[in-house]
């Protein structure tokens, strides 16, 4: 039987066979993502083939090596000029390799590395049945409180699957801000969201709460994804393409028709506006902007704290990156439509986050609302629609992610019999009992509040300056007012820690392994360096501030 005959066995189409060109993939430029995803696959294989005893170390090894290698690849690409002169679009138009993408990928990788450190921490929980345990459930599949859970704990099981899951999340996040067409955007969104939902569900302590958080996050995330997907469909209907470049040209009016089949809908502005709004809504959900923020406090509180820390920083970085690219590359021609709307969102986000945070009594919820307010501040920079706006947002995201990971790492240290002592009343007088830990946390709080000599000030100054110069002065006024409101609850925690009498039954501060110490130390160092001498990093962000089209 000849080859043609075999072929005809499963092709019934009468048309002549079209030759499919092999896609041209720039492996070098995609290497950061490829390394991380590849490591995630290896991690799965480790779960399958490596004995249980060695899995923990093998997973840490794989994850750290992959993240360091991927970061090195990002640095090499940036040094090779891919962030500036050689910026281009790879993988047949699916992925952009340019300044913002590389800057954000680098930030995400570093945040991920610190995330691995906090995930791997095994000294905080008391030893159970002779085994050191981490923050994750012994066996995620066992029902909380059941006999199988007890057996799993007794057997010393650990959920080392969190490491490959984390790598998948990071892999998706690396693609998300670089996605250069709507489908890649959506796939990246799902790639990093689904493992994240899972990670939220596997807390060792307070498992019911953790699972509730995961379910909420999953349901609402799916809801938001549906909006995004519908928006993508509408935009496709409008432009006949999902490619950013083509979309932008259609929005600008430089291209009239793309797909003859869509003549009926093409150029219909209603499709464009509704579609764009729906996609933006999906992204606003991920950054936690009001009114799409309601999952944030519940999920932040319920998820294992290392996951919360990583999620709070890296998700914001990735989602704001995607939002920037969408607004600056696809929709700049539409900015007179989206700017006022986004301003409204920014205002309610800043004020809403700051105001509701005032009455919070749980430190993790407090930080969740704080992250909402910060999303508002970053939106102010996004709305500037200037190159300075891009670079200020990049800088803010980098600064914010280290502060956030550091702050949540400190939260993991303060513990009582029930695990982490997250109720604020238990933090009273912490400064007397553990001055160093309290001082470090105070540094992070001051950075959140945007006090000078911390990275928070430099970042806030940069975005507000960009917003004011971009013609959004009113937004800056609201931003400053919100900062003042927000300063209240940050300082209140500091006052509580340093000027209140310690409670007799207060929590203890666990002494962490070098892993968490590294995460916290890096957080403090970056916070102070970016606060005291921000110029180099502002320049770096400035160089990385141009999107490729």
């Amino acid at each position: 039987m000849s080859a043609t005959a075999v072929h005809s066995l499963w092709t019934t189409a009468a048309d002549p066979i079209q030759k499919i060109d092999a896609p041209n993939i720039e492996y070098g430029q995609l290497s950061p993502t490829l390394i991380v995803i590849g490591a995630a696959v290896i991690g799965i294989l480790v779960e399958a083939f490596v004995p249980r005893r060695s899995r923990y170390y093998a997973q840490i090894f794989v994850s750290v090596v992959a993240l360091v290698a991927a970061f090195a690849a990002v640095v090499a690409l940036a040094a090779g000029g891919y962030g500036t002169t050689k910026a281009g679009i790879a993988a047949m138009g699916a992925v952009a390799v340019d300044g913002p993408a590389l800057f954000l990928q680098g930030t995400i990788l570093l945040a991920g590395l610190l995330g691995v450190f906090t995930f791997a921490e095994r000294r905080l929980d008391p030893v159970a049945h002779g085994n050191r345990v981490d923050s994750f459930a012994a066996q995620a599949s066992s029902v909380p409180g059941s006999d199988s859970e007890k057996a799993a704990v007794k057997a010393g099981f650990t959920t080392t699957e969190v490491f490959p899951l984390l790598l998948f999340v990071i892999g998706g996040m690396l693609v998300f801000p670089a996605a250069n067409d709507l489908l890649t955007l959506f796939i990246a969104l799902e790639v990093f969201s689904l493992p994240l939902y899972l990670l939220c569900a596997v807390a060792r302590r307070k498992r019911i709460m953790s699972q509730e958080a995961a379910v909420k996050y999953f349901l609402l995330g799916a809801f938001a994804s549906a909006f995004t997907l519908f928006g993508i469909a509408l935009l496709y209907g409008y432009a006949g393409s999902v490619s950013y470049a083509t979309l932008a040209q259609v929005v600008d009016g430089t291209i009239e028709t793309v797909n003859p089949a869509l003549v009926g809908t093409m150029g219909n502005d209603a499709l464009l506006l509704i579609g764009a709004a729906m996609i933006v809504m999906g992204l606003l959900f991920k950054v936690g902007a009001v009114p799409f923020h309601m999952w944030t406090p519940d999920v932040y509180q319920g998820a294992p704290t290392p996951v919360t820390g990583f999620m709070a920083s890296a998700t914001k970085v990735a989602a704001f990156g995607a939002l920037l690219r969408l607004l600056y590359v696809v929709l700049p021609g539409l900015r007179w439509d989206w700017r006022p709307v986004m301003m409204g969102v920014a205002v309610v986000t800043m004020l809403g986050g700051a105001i509701v945070a005032i009455t919070q009594t749980d430190i993790k919820r407090l930080l969740a609302y704080s992250s909402i307010a910060h999303a508002g501040f970053i939106l102010a920079g996004v709305i500037a629609t200037t190159p300075d706006g891009v670079s200020s947002v990049l800088f803010y995201l980098a600064a914010y992610s280290f502060v956030t990971i550091g702050a949540f790492s400190v939260v993991t240290l303060v513990r009582d019999a029930g695990g982490e002592a997250t109720h604020l009343s238990k933090w009273a007088g912490l400064g007397r009992r553990s001055p160093l830990v309290a001082a470090v946390f105070a540094v992070f709080l001051l950075a959140f509040a945007g006090i000078p000599l911390t990275s928070g000030f430099a970042g806030k100054f940069a975005v507000f300056k960009a917003a004011a110069e971009g013609g959004a002065g009113a937004l800056v006024v609201v931003g400053v007012i919100s900062s003042a409101i927000a300063a209240f609850f940050y300082i209140r925690v500091i006052v509580l820690m340093f000027f209140s009498e310690p409670r007799p039954e207060g929590p203890t501060v666990a002494v962490p392994s070098p892993l968490t110490m590294t995460a916290i130390a890096v957080g403090v160092a970056v916070t102070l360096v970016l606060g005291v001498a921000p110029q180099y990093f502002l320049d770096l962000a400035g160089q990385a501030g141009v999107f490729v089209r």
Binding site: V215, A224, F285, P291, F292, W295, D337, G344, T359
Partner: protein, 648 residues
Amino acid sequence: MENLIALLVAAPLLGAAVLLCGGRRLDAVGHWIGTALASASFVIGAILFADMLGKDEEHRAVGQHLFSWIPVEGFQADIGFQLDQLSMTFVLLITGVGSLIHVYSIGYMEHDERRRRFFGYLNLFLAAMLLLVLADNYLLLYVGWEGVGLASYLLIGFWQHKPSAATAAKKAFLVNRVGDMGLSIAIMLMFTTFGTFAFGPVLEATGETGEGKLTAIGLMLLLAACGKSAQVPLQSWLGDAMEGPTPVSALIHAATMVTAGVYLIVRSGEIFNAAPDAQLVTTVVGAVTLLFGAIVGCAKDDIKKALAGSTMSQIGYMILAAGLGPIGYVFAIMHLVTHGFFKAGLFLGAGSVMHGMNDEVDMRKYGGLRKYMPVTFVTFGLGYLAIIGFPGLSGFFSKDKIIEAAFAKGGTEGWILGGVALLGAAITAFYMTRVMLMTFFGEERWRNQPTPSPAESDVEPAAEHRGTHAEPHPHESPKSMTIPMIVLAFGSVFAGGFFGIGDRFLHWLEPVTEHAHGHSPLSATTVTLSTMVVLVIGVGLAYLQYGRRPVPVVAPRGSLLTRAARRDLLQDDFNHVVLVRGGEHLTRSLVYVDHTLVDGVVNGTAASMGGLSGRLRKLQNGYARSYAVSMFGGAAILIAATLLMRAV
């Protein structure tokens, strides 16, 4: 040669640093170090003076640029010195009188445990005062200005164990702050107007500047001068400053620091020349103060406070002369120098008397001391003759010129100012004769005196730190005290003649201050004769009052004016009622506003935020379904708003 200028300041500064940081191991030699460095500064000054005399007039002013202090774009402040004839005059006066007073203090402070510290402060004062007069810009002058204020504060309160001294120091400091504020505002105005602080550019640019600005700067400079030179209305601190050791009163509160205001005005002459209103105010301040101080001086029984009143009055003359413009600048400085000699001599004499009288300061408990303290009597007497303007002595030449210049101001103002100056001369003769008679003549009222109680008069009890109040045994002071007095007496006698005859001082200073000959409606002879007449009247009245009749040991009640004058013409009462009470009321009302209005707004905002937060928080009910509804609503609004934006 110019490089020596910095050494002038550096020598006493080094002394202050060594003495204040050196600690107890320097206690034995501290006073020698201090005196040596002060004298070194004088020697350097003398060398520079000789050098200056060797040059022709145009090249006498020299400068030394040390380093750039605050080099910022658009704001250049330099550390630089300027030594011209005016600065040189001050340098010689400050270091000369300063060295003499260092020598005097060796004896006067012999029994004080903290003598080393005292000399450290004196050196600090010299350094600051030299910085003040040598600075080539207003900003550096301000540094010296604050430095002398600090030294003055430290020295007035030197006997800090006495509450009265501590209070007096605080008072001097606070009142001086008001003046300092004036100087700092003046400097800021200069910077905004001229863009620089340096004397040269500022004073050259006065021609192109509006009169309003110059008047403002001039008035602020005058305020500064009033604070430092104890002129009305900032005069109240000088009397209390006599709580300090007597050498301090002689050096700082008579001869040098209190004349800094005169220096400031004369140095800024171009500004005042271009601002006639500021000049007028200056003359009024001077005239009022010269009468004010003289009247206070008549009523005081405390010898140092009587002399303090006299100081105020004499500086009033100088300020008056400085306010007259080019016709008065030279005479202001000339009187300043001669006054430096005879007033320092008088204070040292008073200190010598106190030294021999168990620190008694009440003149009513002196009397007949000429037999016991012949050197003090003669030197004090020469100072007395100099200050009242006895023909041929220093005060005669310098004061006469001021009175003449005041008449030369012209018009009604000239008559009024001249008349006031003449009247002042009469009162000066009266109160100085009173001091002289009460102290050195008459019965020996100090015999069989009980220990004075504080309630007896307005005189403060003498310093308790040395000796008790047994019956005093008046005796002459040691050599280290009498020699400076003799040297100063020479100055009191001959300085005026040396300066005045042949207009020597005028020619010396003219290149810096300029000089214009005033046209007095009265001839010089008439003025001199009238001065003589009022002098005789003043002395005569005092003789009738205190020479012919015995002086009561307990002060009589006196007339209303006398009682007011004893209370420093109610200056403290005025300050208390207007400033202290007013300030308290202002503070209280501000506190009230702060508590009700400001705090109300703040707390109200906080409370409403908290309330809002509590309500918004309820939206977060934990149900995924309501979260989804919120998202759906949000998405609907987002889409609607986007469409609306397009529709609008």
